[in-house]
Symmetry: D2
């Protein structure tokens, strides 16, 4: 299958179940909301080594937020509900409550469960906290040095999907990188999804385990390394490919991850020098979701 | 004592010992280096609840870096060497190695010890990693999908100082916030220091423990809360103060934290509406360092 | 009249007719589109001294543009059609055609006239230009060193409104500045409007002519200068006001300027330290439009 | 000649004399200084169609500026002194004086002449302006709505050099674009130089006149157009080149332009996919300066 002259490999992305939270972080200005959202979602590329997978979903203009201020929706995810509970508490408490002029609201429509993040953080008020209603929501107001921090009492979580992905194979690193940036711009507009890696782009693909070092849980996928294509016998890198980047997508459900994957492919193939689109999987036995690239079109 | 007509309170900031690492993250472009540096230093405001204290120290132009590419120096800190070792491994491995076109070099001149971050991460290469010399440094080259990631074998750590701080008391929130931004701009240029909170600014000060909730380790410092000044009897907020922000400073040594504190005070007092500069301490019994504001001038 | 405890003065903004163009600038990435849009709308605060009034209206995501790439809508305005024709030609030809990967499309729905900007710029192709249809539009493709530049043959213009405005009076400069930023964030989302001054904010208000220097067409409005309030007898600055900023709004029609003015007032009054909202006029004899603040609510 | 395996063509950039001004724009914050500097240097890519060539030279930290605030040095250039005088007056008066919290200082060490920009703009104060000494400079303070605007009375100009350039020929557009960004990052650090085109990058090269349209002063350089390489008989585009970008450099003197050109070449050749570096000239008869690429190394 080809789109815009670029081969779309007949393969699938293997994705996994994950517990997802989705919060709206508002502030006095768009810039201040972005600062808090960025700090709270940092160190959150993959649960392989980070305490969460996290990212910014989208900007929400003032007239669409409960407090009439500009905001960013962020997503914070973990496989484990207990760990997600901890991450919400610390990321909100240490990175948003501490940030200038912020407030936090739940932004999940169809939650399966509620975590009591706000009800726990309110204790920081040491008895001076207050319970309010804002736009029909139960909110706690916690007095701080700089003013009051508002947070919704409960934040929803639900079963979402992590590890949706595409591989962009290009004739050089620059074309792969530009196509990846183009793809991330396209995903930006798909609600309910994030691309948790730095700038949305992954430079390194890994395989499960290691051939040489038995103590490793994951190691470089040598068959997909462009600088090893002449060295590794069963390389999967075509001779004319010299740059490969991956986009990893987490979403609130399979549908949103599929929509983001489709948008990413359609955007990436527009960049001259992109030769092939593929996806990463582990044979299909590990993940609950299989997103076949050809099925998207 | 007054500077520019603003009262500088006769008090001191109480700071603590912390283990500090300082890394240079380079990339093909200034923008790509910033993306990696930001991801790796996120979720890093305070070790009270974050797994590290982390931030960007400064930009380094291409002609001053070992690989001739633009870069940012970042600092990652933890009280505990074992935890710092873990954080370096995961923050570099998950947030910089995975980012497009990056490399990592040690940026500490006077380390007391070396952590083997690069020597451990090299195993990700599954035998395809290579040892190189770059500008007199021992570097490992790890093949990735997108090309090779370079990292120095050992990264230095040393005993540094955390929790240097000033309080900016202003007639309203906006003046406090602008003065805090002005102070962070001034600190930006003091080498060996970071301001780990979101945008460098802290909206919330805390006290040890809680009066009401015995299970809490820290709670809001009600005596410093502007919205409680009429409610709390022994408030420390003057009647005309309606906005208070704190700047927290971590540094490679006491001297750098003192220089940053001085620069922050001199910058903040220039903003009209700033009424007083103070600092936070716990009576002086907890921290190893006492930075008296009056001694700086 | 008060909103959120802030006095809204019973006055009106006096606005003027202006010829408006509205273009969509797309590029490979959001970042590249922003770079081109910024260059093309620079040096465009007021036709008093700039060759045009210009600014960015809004971001348009890839799936809503004719070429499926991210873009920014910009507006370029001048009182005089001939001068607007010149400005379109030079700003598009020198600042967008020269920028990496860009294309230009008309973004005015209800134009009164068409300027032949694309039909003129196509000659730059020196005979190698081509005529295409893209999404039902007549487009010229002009070969450049880096690839082909696409531009719609004709760009619409219409009679719009310039000089809508509010004054934000605050207890200090910082509160005025923060409120102005908050107001600009709110206007960002009103389609068909721009705030052409730097960052959308005006630090200087002027009066027609000069009392002292007869050769001047405009001079500082001393009655509105905060640092002159004790010196100028008939000052309009209340004793407690120490910072005043203006927002100037241009729009495709009076309705959009009114909507932006309303959004700006509602946003600005939320910032503590804002004491009063006013607006600028010249007695009502000069401009065709009077936007009374009280009528907006 | 080859650097890093990339052919450096044995040719020269032909550059021209131009009148250069160099100003320091300071503000309360780094962000506010950047906003003003950007507005004042917009619509300034080339004097072929823009009223000036203009750009940001470099950031200057607070402790190195006359007023102890962060600032950006900008350069504004024109072939003609009278036009430069006009541009300084309007760009400073309309785009910096009007911007929040700014001040303007001369930043040229070896001026040949002084323009009275500040002495003229002071009249805007309508008699309320004041003359001050700041760090040994004669400064005028002009009262505005938001506070006082400070500007040095005289701004230096000198004979500089415009149109220094390199061409980056790459196997695709993305590699050319990435290399151009890398080159601009490298030039950023050469004091006394700007890259006036959008983002520092030129997508379009032109030749003098036109073969087909006799009324044109300049038209596309079809021999350098990648999409015409199969159509134009005497194309200069090698078969494997599919993306060409140009960097244009203006500087305070030939030495600074040469230093920037050298830094640009050394940076660009590091990007995989870059095949050749060349430069633009008109045979050597038009410009006063010939910067031979091979002489730089």
């Amino acid at each position: 299958m080809e789109i815009n002259g670029v081969e779309i490999e007949d393969t699938f992305a293997e994705a996994f179940g994950i517990q997802v939270s989705r919060l709206l972080v508002t502030a006095a200005t768009k810039k201040l909301a972005k600062i808090a959202a960025t700090e709270a979602t940092g160190y959150g590329t993959s649960v392989i080594g980070c305490p969460a997978e996290a990212g910014i979903d989208r900007y929400v203009p003032p007239e669409e937020t409960p407090d009439g201020r500009p905001g960013y929706i962020i997503m914070i995810c973990n496989m484990n509900k207990g760990k997600l509970d901890h991450e919400l508490l610390e990321r909100v408490g240490m990175c948003i409550l501490t940030a200038a002029t912020t407030a936090v609201f739940d932004a999940l429509d169809d939650e399966e469960e509620k975590l009591k993040t706000g009800q726990k953080l309110k204790f920081f008020g040491d008895g001076y906290e207050k319970k309010l209603e804002v736009a029909g929501r139960t909110i706690f107001s916690i007095p701080l040095m700089s003013g009051d921090f508002l947070i919704e009492g409960e934040l929803g979580i639900k079963s979402g999907v992590a590890g949706g992905n595409i591989f962009i194979l290009a004739e050089n690193q620059a074309a792969g990188l530009l196509a990846a940036e183009v793809a991330v711009d396209a995903i930006d507009n798909v609600p309910g999804t994030i691309t948790p890696f730095p700038g949305g782009i992954v430079a390194s693909g890994s395989k499960v385990g290691s051939n040489k070092y038995k103590f490793l849980g994951a190691s470089t996928n040598e068959k997909m390394c462009v600088t090893l294509k002449d060295e590794v016998e069963d390389t999967q890198i075509p001779a004319d490919v010299n740059g490969v980047y991956e986009i990893v997508i987490d979403g609130v459900d399979e549908e949103s991850v599929r929509a983001a994957t489709k948008a990413a492919v359609e955007a990436a193939v527009k960049v001259p020098g992109v030769l092939k689109i593929s996806a990463g999987n582990f044979g299909g036995d590990l993940g609950a979701y299989k997103i076949a690239l050809h099925d998207l079109f």
